[in-house]
């Protein structure tokens, strides 16, 4: 083989050098920074006080829970607790808490902090909308720095799964007390893989890597620290802009894949779309059943019959979602299959007949009225894609003479508005894996006015839900929950719209990963997020 001349070697070396420099320049300093694109923001980031998905998404990264959950949505992984024991009667859980965990400010975390955080969740003063998830708690104590004892009054078969949710995130007592109402608004101190940097509501949430982190759950190859130095959660409300931002690399990951753009994203060579069907998400419009406009079950049933969910799923969501007629997916645990053929599907003529029967008759303008009052229910909704859904509902209802009024709010405002008694209808979506997950959230009388925004106040339901939650026999539980499902479907307290899959779009610059589905937060701890080498 001919040896290269001195000159050409030098030139080649120079070329390689230039190429290397070029690559180094192309792989910029911000290769360690990651932008996640989202549609909406949370109202705040205080773990037990927000039920918003946008809150949980961030909190999973900022803080840790006693136990973790794997992508299969079943396997419980050790996280802050390295092991645990459950007493034979299912009433006492004893956790061994790790002794090598530190908060973002460097302080060591002990079982005392875990007990504080869980007791804060349970404290009625905190007014947690998801308090029921903890079960019927007797006491939560930390006898020493590495032991946590969680005692129940009645068994709670889902307890470990519920303790993996972001609401039980362990936080630093001193920071909570120092910041007061501003905790989770101006600052935060957790033990998560990322630390709070700054939050500009409706714009961006910036978090930086927790350098000491090494206690990530076992479902991740990387136990910590995180692979990227900084994560920016950027709010981009418009679907088209989100699509473009992903295609042009302004953001690397988005769990808020716009349905309108998903075909384009699937075809784009630099974007991958990953999906998980291990959990469910259902979007619905709820009725405040004690409001004069919608207090008649006939009217609510008529609204259910007048709306064409199938057309919406195809036309507004391009067939990417499943039209919903049931309040939870029929694939969810403990769904009552007796209800399958009783669901209210599209039938505008029957809707009109029901409205006539309810006394709301058509006037000269083609609108429904009773005793001189027009049937004009007021719906509160999120802005963005929800507003499109509500407009489609409005158009469908107009065809049977119902004049739906719409009042959209930004997500940062909406949660507060939805906790009032001002509206007749509201929009909401929720993640769940079982009937119990959904029913305990929405239909307990203790959960009024939020998340039980329907004002569903029925002692029998309360009893059935308590029996179901504390049942040891799965058949008993399914029977109890099945009865509640029948009750609420018959009363038509919701207008279900669609069941949606978890889909995450990410740039091919990012290492491939599996979508999580815990509380609908597809990225979970964020330890898997890293650039391809």
């Amino acid at each position: 083989m001919k040896t290269l001349s001195h000159m050409s070697v030098k030139r080649a070396a120079l070329r390689t050098g230039l190429a290397a420099t070029a690559i180094a320049l192309a792989m910029p300093a911000f290769a360690k920074d990651l932008t996640i694109i989202r549609e909406i923001d949370s109202n705040h980031y205080d773990p037990p006080r927000t039920a918003a998905l946008a809150g949980s998404e961030v909190l999973f990264m900022l803080a840790d829970t006693v136990v973790g959950l794997a992508e299969d949505m079943k396997t419980i992984e050790p996280l802050l607790a390295s092991s645990w024991e459950i007493s034979d009667d299912g009433l006492t859980y004893t956790f061994t808490i790790r002794d090598d965990v530190t908060f973002c400010d460097g302080k060591a975390m002990t079982a005392e902090d875990v007990a504080y955080s869980l007791n804060r969740w349970q404290d009625p003063e905190t007014k947690s909308p998801v308090r029921w998830r903890m079960g019927d708690v007797k006491s939560i104590t930390a006898p020493d720095a590495t032991t946590l004892v969680y005692e129940l009054n009645a068994p709670h078969s889902e307890l470990l799964y519920q303790l993996a949710q972001s609401f039980g995130s362990v936080v630093d007592k001193e920071t909570v007390e120092a910041l007061g109402a501003d905790f989770g608004v101006t600052g935060f101190n957790g033990t998560g893989p990322f630390c709070w940097d700054s939050w500009t509501p409706r714009d961006q949430m910036v978090m930086t890597r927790h350098e000491d982190y090494h206690w990530g759950p076992a479902n991740y190859e990387n136990a910590g620290p995180a692979q990227v130095e900084k994560i920016t959660w950027q709010v981009v409300p418009e679907a088209a802009t989100r699509t473009v931002a992903l295609m042009t690399g302004q953001g690397q990951v988005s769990p808020y894949v716009p349905f309108i753009g998903i075909e384009k994203l699937r075809m784009a060579p630099n974007v991958e779309v990953v999906r998980s069907d291990e959990a469910f998400w259902t979007n619905y419009i709820g009725f405040k059943i004690d409001k004069p406009m919608v207090n008649d079950p006939l009217v609510r049933q008529a609204i259910n019959l007048a709306v064409n969910q199938e057309a919406m799923a195809e036309d507004l969501f391009f067939g990417e979602v499943e039209p919903a007629y049931s309040y939870i997916s029929s694939g969810a645990l403990d769904w009552n299959s007796d209800l399958d053929d009783k669901l209210l599907t599209y039938d505008p003529e029957k809707a009109a007949a029901l409205l006539d029967e309810a006394g709301w008759t058509l006037n000269a303008d083609g609108k429904r009225e009773k005793d001189g009052e027009l049937l004009q229910p007021l719906a509160y909704t999120f802005t963005g894609s929800w507003a499109q859904v509500v407009e489609a509902v409005q158009a469908d209802l107009l065809k049977v003479g119902i004049d739906l009024q719409i009042q959209p709010f930004d997500a940062t405002v909406y949660w507060g508005k939805a906790a009032t008694q001002e509206f007749d209808m509201f929009t909401m979506g929720f993640p769940y894996i079982s009937a119990g997950d959904a029913l305990n959230l929405y239909f307990l009388s203790a959960n009024m006015p939020s998340p039980n925004r329907m004002n569903w106040n029925d002692p029998e339901t309360d009893k059935l839900l308590y029996d179901g939650a504390t049942a040891v026999d799965p058949a008993v539980r399914a029977e109890d929950y099945g009865q509640v499902l029948t009750k609420v479907h018959e009363a038509a307290v919701w207008l279900p719209i669609y069941h949606k899959p978890m889909q995450i779009a990410y740039s091919t610059e990012i290492k491939p990963f599996e979508a999580h589905n815990i509380y609908g937060a597809g990225l979970y701890k964020g330890l898997q997020l890293g650039y391809v080498d």
Binding site: E238, I260, K264, D315, L316, T383, E391, Q394, A395, I406
Partner: protein, 307 residues
């Protein structure tokens, strides 16, 4: 004004004769004729008239109910590839007919503009005239107007909506309020000139009351100039109104309004650009024609521009 005949060719008007006597300038043709002589103005007025006519006749012209959705979503205009003959300008993301929404939308947009300009113009002009009429009031009123001038219309709109809630009424009020300072300044300027005229002093001398003097001498001499300003202001108001609706503050669904239609189309910009483009073009045309027409009207009507 009585209809003057075109006397350019009449034997009464003789050109400057041999003797070097300068004849009186020929009488000016009627303002309408002068207006239509300007090709651009004529086209603008015609187009604006057509748009207004379409808006007024919307219930009879629109092929569909503007709020009626259908399964044919995001269809492009019928003359484009993929379009359907039933929808001349296509459909939006909810399957509503864009042509029908455009007709109803321009109705609302024009109405917002007219009411806001009318209201703001009336209040503003009155303040301006009053301030010129009573010189003692002038510094106080004008400083107040200066303060109002420092609020951008959009900011004012946002503030009013925050207080009054979303809807057309708060937007109209915001637009009217934002027109007040401009109109007041213009009216005052015009009135200052009129106030210096001798007939005002004459009126005072013969002991006319302030009300009569204001009404009969000041207002009547200023009104045409003010109207010209308002016609120019109309285009601006339409634009700001559409902007507020674009931001979601004005008309609420299912009503159609051009700014709101453009805003709704934004979601589809990448996939069905016509949904946003068509209403935007109409806003552009309304504003452009209103401005050109207003300009032309000023040219032919404003006495100060007549030489």
């Amino acid at each position: 004004m009585t209809m003057a005949t075109d006397t350019a060719d009449s034997p009464l008007t003789t050109p400057a004769n041999e003797g070097g006597e300068v004849a009186a300038p020929p009488p000016r043709p009627h303002w309408l004729r002068r207006l239509l002589r300007d090709k651009a103005a004529a086209a603008a007025i015609l187009l604006l008239a057509l748009i207004c006519l379409g808006a007024v006749l919307a219930p009879w012209l629109a092929p569909y109910d503007p709020a009626l959705n259908s399964r044919a979503v995001m269809k492009p205009p019928s003359f484009m590839q993929g379009g359907v003959p039933e929808h001349l300008l296509g459909t939006d993301g909810q399957g509503r007919d864009i042509l029908s929404r455009l007709l109803y939308g321009s109705r609302l947009t024009l109405l917002i503009g007219l009411v806001a300009v009318g209201l703001g113009g009336a209040v503003g002009s009155f303040i301006g005239l009053l301030s010129a009429f009573y010189a003692r009031l002038d510094p106080w009123v004008m400083r107040g107007i200066d303060i109002l001038l420092s609020f951008p219309a959009i900011l004012l709109g946002l503030a009013l909506v925050a207080v009054m809630g979303q809807g057309i009424v708060p937007v109209i009020i915001a637009l009217a309020v934002s027109s007040v300072p401009d109109c007041a300044r213009i009216a005052r300027g015009i009135a200052m000139g009129v106030m210096k005229q001798e007939f005002i002093e004459a009126g005072r001398a013969v002991g006319l009351s302030d009300v009569t003097l204001f009404q009969r001498y000041l207002l009547r001499n200023c009104i045409s100039s003010i109207m010209i300003f308002l016609s120019l202001r109309f285009g601006q108001i339409i634009l700001i109104g559409a902007t507020l609706s674009f931001l979601g503050l004005g008309a609420q669904p299912p009503a159609a309004e051009l700014g709101m239609m453009a805003s709704q189309g934004r979601e589809y910009l990448l996939f069905a650009p016509h949904i946003a483009v068509i209403p935007s073009v109409l806003i552009f045309l309304i504003v452009l024609t209103a401005n050109v027409a207003g300009d032309a009207l000023r040219d032919v009507l404003d006495p100060r521009l007549q030489t």
